[in-house]
C-alpha cells in the first residue's frame, strides 16, 4: 500500500496520514478520524470508512470485524440551514 494514496477524498487524507494516526494511538475509525479528519468531509465517511477499517486491521494485525462502524449522526444527508430552521415549513 503506497503511503501517498488518498484514502479520504473529501479531506485529502493519505494512507500515510492514517498509518501515522495509528502509530500515535488511534485504535478505531473514530480515533483515525479525530487525528486526520478522514470521514469529516462532505460524504461523512461513506467512501473511506471501509478503507480505513482495512488499514486499521492490517496495521494492528486484527480482523476486520474487530473494528466497529463509526457513529452515525443526523442529518443522514446534507440539509440547508434554512430547511433545518423550518424556513420552508408549511
Amino acid at each position: 500500500m503506497d503511503d501517498d494514496l488518498i484514502v479520504c477524498r473529501c479531506e485529502e487524507v493519505t494512507v500515510g496520514d492514517v498509518k501515522r494516526a495509528i502509530e500515535q494511538g488511534a485504535f478505531d475509525v473514530s480515533g483515525v478520524k479525530r487525528r486526520t479528519r478522514a470521514g469529516m468531509g462532505q460524504c461523512q465517511g461513506r467512501t473511506c470508512e471501509t478503507l480505513i477499517r482495512g488499514i486499521l486491521a492490517s496495521e494492528l494485525s486484527k480482523r476486520p470485524d474487530e473494528f466497529r462502524l463509526d457513529t452515525v449522526r443526523p442529518p443522514l444527508s446534507p440539509v440547508t440551514f434554512k430547511t433545518l430552521a423550518g424556513g420552508y415549513d408549511e
Partner: protein, 382 residues
Amino acid sequence: MRTYDADVCIVGSGPAGLGAAIELAKHGLHALVVDSNLSAGGQLIKQTHKFFGPTAHRGGVRGMVIADELYAEALDSGVEVWLDSEVYSVSSEMQERMSIEVLRNARRSNSCDTLPIFRCAIKAKYLVIASGASEKPLMFPGWTLPGVMGAGAVQTVMNVERVLPGERFLIVGSGNVGLILAYQLLQAGAKISCVIDSAPTIGGYAVHAGKVQRAGVPLITRCTIVKALGDNQVKGGQIARLDENCQIIESSVETVDVDTICIAVGLKPYARLASLAGCKFGYFPQLGGWVPLHNDRMMTTVENVYVAGDVAGVEEAAIAEDEGRLAGLDIVLKLRPDDVCVRSRIHEVQARLWESRRGPFSSDKHQAKKEIIGHWHGNVAT
C-alpha cells in the same frame, strides 16, 4: 413542522420496501413508502435483463418491468408513496412511535422554482428500513481520477440517464454485478477491454459469464488492477497477473487502452439509518460486511424497527422482496395476533426464503443468516 401519521413508514421503494408495503396495505394498514429517488423500484429500474428462476420468482421478466409491476401493485393496494423524499433523521417519540424526518422535493425544486422544498415528520408505530446497499471501494494508484466509477454508478448513468460515461471500459470484479454490467455495456455499444478478478475463479453465475465470453470479452482471473493511468482523467489501466500467493507477477504487467474503469468488488448494506435508529450490528462478510442484526421475522434489536432486502445482507431481488413481505406480515401479526391466515402466510414466505438460499452459491449466505438470527437472540437476551 408538518407531521404526517402512518401505521408503518417504509424507507426505500425497491423490491423489499414495496414487498413490505403491499402486505401491509393488503391487510388494511396505512403504509407510507419514502424514497429519495425520482422513480420507485430501487435497483430494479436499472436491470434491463430478464431475471431467471421459477415463475413464482418472476423468472423471465426484465428487472425494470418487475419494478413497474410492483409499483402498480403497491398503488392499487393503497400504499402511499413519496418519491423525491429523503430521510435525514429518525428518533423515537412518546408512546412507542418513531418520528422520521424527511426532506421533500429537494431534487425537483432544483429545476422547478415553484415546487417548494420543505421538511416534515412522519409519525409511525413501525419503521421498515429497506435502503439497500452501496458499492465497496477499491484503492489503487489513480483511483480518484475521473473515469474510475462504481459499477452500479455506470449502470445508473447508462440505463437510467441513458448516457454512456465512456467508450472503452475495464471492469474490475467478476461477480454478477460486473458480469451483468459488461453485457449491458456491450448492448449499449461500448467496448470492453476485459473483466478481471483477483480471485482464482469467476465470481458470478456461469449463465452471465457465458454471455460475456461468447461476446468476445476476456474474463481474466488471478488478475488485478495495478494503477489507473492519466493525469486529469483515466487514459488507460495497468493490470497484472497474480501468483498463488496473490503477489503481482512483474513480467505480466500490461497496459489496457480504456477511458473508464468500473469497480465491481462487492456491495455492502447501506444501513446508516439503522445505525442512527440504534440497531445493533454484526459482521458477516458473506453478506457484505456489517449487517443489522434481525430475527427470523426481520425485526432488529430495536423493537419497532425492521430491515429487509440488501440492507439486511446483500443477496438478490427475489429474496429482498420476500424479506420485505415477511417484515410487513410480522407487523400485521403484531397488530392482529389472532389472525391465523397471517401466521400461515408468514410460514409460507419463510419457507420460500430458506428454499431460495439452498444450492451451492448460497450456502454461505444461508449459514450467515442463521448466525445473524442467533446473534439477535443473544443480543436481545442481554
